[in-house]
Amino acid sequence: MPEPFRVILFIIFVMAFAGLNAAYLVWCERKGAGHIQRRIGPKEVGPFGLLQPIADGIKLMTKQLFLPKGADPILFMAAPLMVMVPAIMSFMVIPFSETFVAREVNIGLLMIFAFASVNVLGLLLGGWGSGNKYAVIAAARCVSQNIAYEIPMLVTAITMVMVTNTMNLNEIVRSQAGWFFHWHIFRLDISLLMPVAFLIFFVCTLAETNRAPFDMAEAESELIAGAYTEYPGMGFGVFFMGEYANIVIGCALSVILFLGGWQSPVPFHPAGFLGVIWGLFWFLTKLYALIFTVIWIRWTYPRTQFYVLLNLSWKVLIPISLFNLILTALQIKIFPWL
């Protein structure tokens, strides 16, 4: 396929993927919440309430876009974009299947982290630009939280780079070929703390994407809707899409680093077009299983207090991830043949 054509196709695919994900993850969220509380969830609009996201979207789109008093108009309008655009850009390097990737960048992992760091600035400026006390408090909380959890996340990611010797996400997946016990989460011979590292990474993903139990940025019961308090209509919708896109990216990164990406659990990979579908199937299965876990966690645990959240990162996650880094380095150095 010619390159420009491929790129345009991918842009369309990524936009559709991000939009549909945002829409239908909300549906999944509500269904999941319902069933965990032994209710049904949305069921009126369409079969099983499947058209509910469309109804919600239309409702959001028809709302008036107004500027609250005391807001900074430019920052207020630019902030949702600053959350959404980097999230979309990050999809560029995620290998959905062996050849189903927009561009195999050899520093893809770094690229995702670089774009993800812009996200915080967007939230912060959105909260500050609203000219609302609750929004400013939420923005300040959000930044301390993101900075605190970025450290263990990056340390764990560096551990994985050390293990795989590459930052190319597709290469990282390729190094986990074979049976399912070749996935990094089960490779106790590389690092004894591998499952713990996965847990740390996953918890950090939750905190970085402001998901419960770490949703201090939103905290409906204390801060109305946190940084999004003043946002009307589609401004709010774009924030939401960005948030769900970030969840997808975080979970995809966990899948790629620890759960074998598009590798199937058995050493079987058909060639050609069938192989693409096979890889896509396994990647999406793992991805959505992990996203379901995120939803599951949200409806299990209550929101933590803010100082507990920071203590967890500084006193537990960072020391353990640093210890894991050293242990992995030692293990690689002592048993280089593994």
Binding site: A114, L121, V143
Partner: protein, 179 residues
């Protein structure tokens, strides 16, 4: 000169866009009255600078620029603005009348002088390259030729963290003096 609708031409067009982003961001950063907007301008400028680094054959440095400057430095500055800027309009209407035009003239002078110097000098391209400047080579030279500086930087960063903590902690119990 290259044709516009070719890979080189389009990349040249994107380059112009990136340069404009950089300069626009820098102007916002120095000229807006609200400090929060100035930081946004700084972030835009740094994204542009990252693009320029990409054109200079080092995507790694470009991404580090985004990660460190946009993700860390700008966020820290916004945070400090939130903590220490009670009235956002404090920039306006202060200082002497000459400060604005004078500093503007000085800035123009510096820009003109540096550009003229850059244009006058006959730059000699190197006869041979010892390596291709890829990420592996950067890592190698960081850990061989420049390992001392590398370690020193890490010590500086550690000291900066401790120093920042100490500085920001002290005076926390005090109620604050008069200006």
């Amino acid at each position: 000169m290259v044709p516009l609708f070719s890979a080189e031409g389009l990349s040249s067009l994107v380059f112009i866009f990136i340069v404009m982003t950089t300069v626009l961001g820098a102007v916002i950063a120095t000229h807006s009255e609200r400090l929060t907007r100035a930081v946004t301008g700084l972030a835009i400028c740094f994204i542009g600078v990252a693009g320029i680094y990409y054109y200079l054959n080092s995507p790694f440095v470009a991404l580090m620029e985004m990660l460190i400057y946009v993700g860390a430095v700008c966020v820290t500055i916004v945070f400090a603005v939130m903590l220490a800027d009670p009235n956002p309009e404090s920039e306006a209407g202060k200082g002497s009348i000459f400060a604005g035009p004078l500093s503007f003239a000085l800035g123009i002078l510096l820009f003109w002088g540096l550009s003229a110097l850059a244009g006058k000098t006959a730059w000699v391209p190197p006869s041979a390259r010892v390596n291709d400047g890829s990420l592996e080579e950067v890592g190698r030279s960081l850990l061989t030729n420049y390992s001392m500086a590398f370690e020193l930087i890490s010590i500086v960063l550690l000291l900066a963290i401790i120093g920042a903590l100490v500085l920001a902690r002290q005076g926390r119990t005090r109620t604050g003096g008069e200006s």
